[in-house]
């Protein structure tokens, strides 16, 4: 006996759900392209800085690196890990709490660990 009810989709429903899945997959690939782009920009900024090609100061580069990392992580969580879908309220709550503490702990370790 099974607790799952088998529901057969009609051909129209099935083709609709397939089309939706394909569209979702396309947006996933687009997000992947964006992530690769951000990574490329991050690395090239640093390469350029090392080889004195472009004159960005490191006080510009470091915050930008952080921003790009945060965006990438957001994309991973919300698209690749499907946190944008329904039924993810609890995961969101715990991941955000984790992220907040995960920000606080490194912050204290670079400020109030004396030498």
């Amino acid at each position: 006996m099974s607790e799952v009810q088998m529901i057969k989709r009609s051909p129209a429903e099935q083709s609709l759900s397939q089309r939706r899945a394909k569209e979702a997959m396309r947006s996933q690939v687009a997000m992947f392209a964006l992530m690769i782009f951000l990574t490329l920009v991050s690395f090239s900024m640093v390469f350029a800085h090392l080889n004195d090609v472009a004159g960005f100061s490191k006080f510009f580069i470091i915050p930008t690196l952080f921003l790009f990392a945060a965006v990438q992580v957001g994309l991973q969580l919300y698209y690749f890990m499907h946190m944008n879908e329904k039924g993810h309220g609890i995961p969101q709550m715990f991941m955000f709490t984790g992220a907040m503490l995960g920000f606080l702990i490194p912050l204290t370790f670079v400020t109030i660990v004396w030498w």
Partner: protein, 625 residues
């Protein structure tokens, strides 16, 4: 299956308990394990007090004294208080939300065995004669230079036990999130369930830092790491931060379930709805949240700078607000209630003044300038014993009396219970109240002995006599437990007569599937609503009785943990012996094989048939008449 064809005999019973995945049995295992370690920690405490009874005493050596204080603290926090609370959570929380089991019965069992083997590992140090001696906080410079394997036992033993705690925390969270009965919304959950939820969430976020910190300590001591060794560029303050990032939430992990237990008891024995339920829930969540923002108040004297100290001081004092909300709500619950002073209620009534005193001294230490004066003095010892004993231990005793009938089906003797309370309560205040003054008079904590003529003699003597009274009280309780078990007078569903929550609607102890039909919850204090409506069955079913899916028992959790236990010894001796590394690898491989066996073999559980449930129900009804 298991209820029809139960084998009897010692071997079968033992096997049943070793392989059980039933949350009620695991709850009992946690409770018994925790009580065992509570006795161990209590004996250590008694020796400490006897050593400090008179000046220049030499009952124990200075080294042994350090072993005793370290093991007393570690044992009481990790191996006594938490497991006993886990025992209640396991046994009661699923019943309160109308669930048949926890979300992950297998992991539940794994969590218990990791606690048991971790605690065993830690205490085997006594047999080796190399005992952890760097304090329960194990501050790094000291713990790095502690000779022998003492601190190794601490690091590895706690690593194993801590892993079990983390699993238990996740398990409770998922149980509460996913397995509530129909109608049991979040804001209808009994407060003990709520505090279990918040405490488990805190475990989820507080134990990973402990894991990391213990790994660092293990690496530094056993695998030539350099995290804390300043000559190699390391930093001892990192240990303090990591330890307290874990350690401060830890005390809230202990006290929140205690609050939950008392909330239940106040409401039941005042025969009133809990006053300000919503505010109570909100305060619980707020305490849980703020609990993570205050760890550096343990480190005021480290020299973090005035800005950091000020921030952490303010955050610390802020916690007094939600805690105060709770205290007033309890008082207002009692006010105007029809009060029955039973043993659990006696503990609850004693808890309020005791805990308030501990809380107030906490705010005193939260004021950073004053903390410079109080730091490392007996005032600190007095404070944390007031919150831990006056809060957590009183709650454990209260809960033990309150839920004993539900867990074991018998009722602890009320007279002996009250005698226990009087001895313990008087002894507790006698032991620790005077220690506030000892602190003011300059007695430092963690000293092996003290000189005559400093005005500390009488106070220390009083304190020791108080400790003896506590020991007497606890002994009376053990006698009570033994007598009750021998008499074995079975009780019905609701032996207190005033139960408000779902666990009192089913037999004591409940059948292994808990609820024949999942209950329908129609409001806060579910059972009370049924009682007020004069309902005969005490449960409105949400579904007809059907076959119930149950998990199989398994020995694998114990084997997995055994592997870790063996690996621990390998890690500890790998530097000085040739076999250490081999044992380490063997232990880990053993665990891995056990895990793989679990993963590769599909275990889909089995079904209890409808006929069998109806038969059970019939038997219960006949037994009642």
């Amino acid at each position: 299956m298991s209820s029809v064809a139960q084998k009897s005999g010692f071997g079968a019973t033992l096997w049943d308990w070793l392989t059980t995945v039933d949350h009620k049995k695991i709850g009992i295992l946690y409770l018994l394990g925790g009580l065992f370690f509570f006795v161990l920690g209590g004996i250590e405490a008694m020796i400490i007090r006897l050593q400090l009874m008179t000046p220049n005493n030499d009952l124990v050596s200075a080294g042994l004294f350090n072993d005793l204080i370290t093991m007393h603290g570690t044992t009481m926090i990790f191996l006594a208080a938490m497991p006993i609370l886990f025992g209640f959570m396991n046994a009661i929380m699923p019943l309160q939300i109308g669930a048949r089991d926890v979300a992950f019965p297998f992991i539940n069992s794994l969590g218990f065995w990791m606690f048991a083997f971790g605690g065993l590992f830690l205490n085997i140090s006594w047999l080796f004669g190399e005992v952890p001696d760097a304090g329960w906080t194990s501050y790094a410079s000291l713990s790095l230079h502690s000779p022998g394997h003492g601190v190794d036992f601490y690091a590895i033993g706690l690593q194993i036990a801590g892993g079990g705690t983390l699993m238990a925390g996740i398990n409770f969270l998922v149980t509460i999130i996913n397995m509530r009965a129909p109608g049991m919304t979040y804001m209808r959950m009994p407060l003990f369930t709520w505090t279990t939820f918040v405490a488990s969430a805190m475990i989820l976020f507080a134990f990973p830092p402990l894991t990391v910190g213990l790994f660092f300590l293990t690496f530094d001591r056993m695998f030539s790491g350099n995290f804390f060794d300043h000559t190699m560029g390391g930093n001892t303050i990192i240990w303090e931060h990591i330890f307290w990032i874990f350690g401060h939430p830890e005390v809230y992990i202990l006290i929140l379930p205690a609050f939950g237990i008392f909330s239940e008891i106040f409401s039941v024995f005042s025969r009133k709805r809990l006053f300000g339920y919503t505010a109570m829930v909100f305060a619980t969540v707020l305490i849980g949240f703020l609990g993570f923002m205050v760890w550096a108040h343990h480190m005021f004297t480290v020299g973090l700078g005035p800005t950091a100290n000020a921030i952490f001081a303010v955050a610390t004092m802020a916690i007094a607000v939600p805690t105060g909300v709770k205290i007033f709500n309890w008082l207002l619950t009692i006010w105007g209630g029809s009060i029955k002073v039973t043993t659990p209620m006696l503990y609850a009534l004693g808890f309020i003044p005791s805990f308030v005193m501990g809380g107030v001294t906490g705010v005193m230490q939260g004021a950073a300038p004053l903390d410079y004066q109080l730091h490392d003095s007996y005032f600190i010892v007095a404070h944390f014993h007031y919150v831990i004993v006056g809060g957590v231990v009183l709650a454990i005793f209260a809960g033990l009396h309150y839920w004993w009938p539900k867990m074991f089906g018998t009722m602890l003797n009320e007279l002996l219970g009250k005698i226990t309370f009087v001895f313990f309560f008087v002894g507790f205040h006698m032991t620790f109240l005077i220690q506030h003054w000892l602190g003011f008079w300059g007695m430092p904590r963690r000293v092996w002995t003290f000189m005559d003529g400093q005005g500390w003699n009488i106070a220390n003597l009083v304190s020791t006599i108080g400790a003896l009274l506590m020991a007497i009280g606890f002994t009376v309780m053990l006698i009570n437990i033994i007598m009750t078990t021998i008499k074995n007078e079975r009780v019905g569903n609701d032996p207190w007569g005033d139960g408000r929550t779902l666990e009192w609607a089913i037999p004591s102890p409940p059948p292994f599937y808990n609820f024949p039909a999942t209950p329908l919850v129609r409001g806060l204090d579910t059972l009370w609503i049924e009682k007020m409506e004069g309902s005969k069955e005490m449960i409105t079913p949400a579904e007809p009785i059907t076959d119930i899916h149950m998990p199989h028992g398994s020995i694998i959790p114990m084997l997995m943990t055994l592997g870790l236990f063996i690996a621990g010894f390998g890690a500890m001796f790998h530097q000085e012996t040739s076999w250490g590394l081999g044992v380490l690898i063997f232990g880990l491989a053993f665990t891995f094989v056990a895990m793989a066996a679990r993963s590769l073999k599909d275990d889909l559980g089995y079904y209890v048939t409808k006929e069998q449930i109806l038969q059970d129900q019939e038997n219960i009804k006949r037994g009642r008449n």
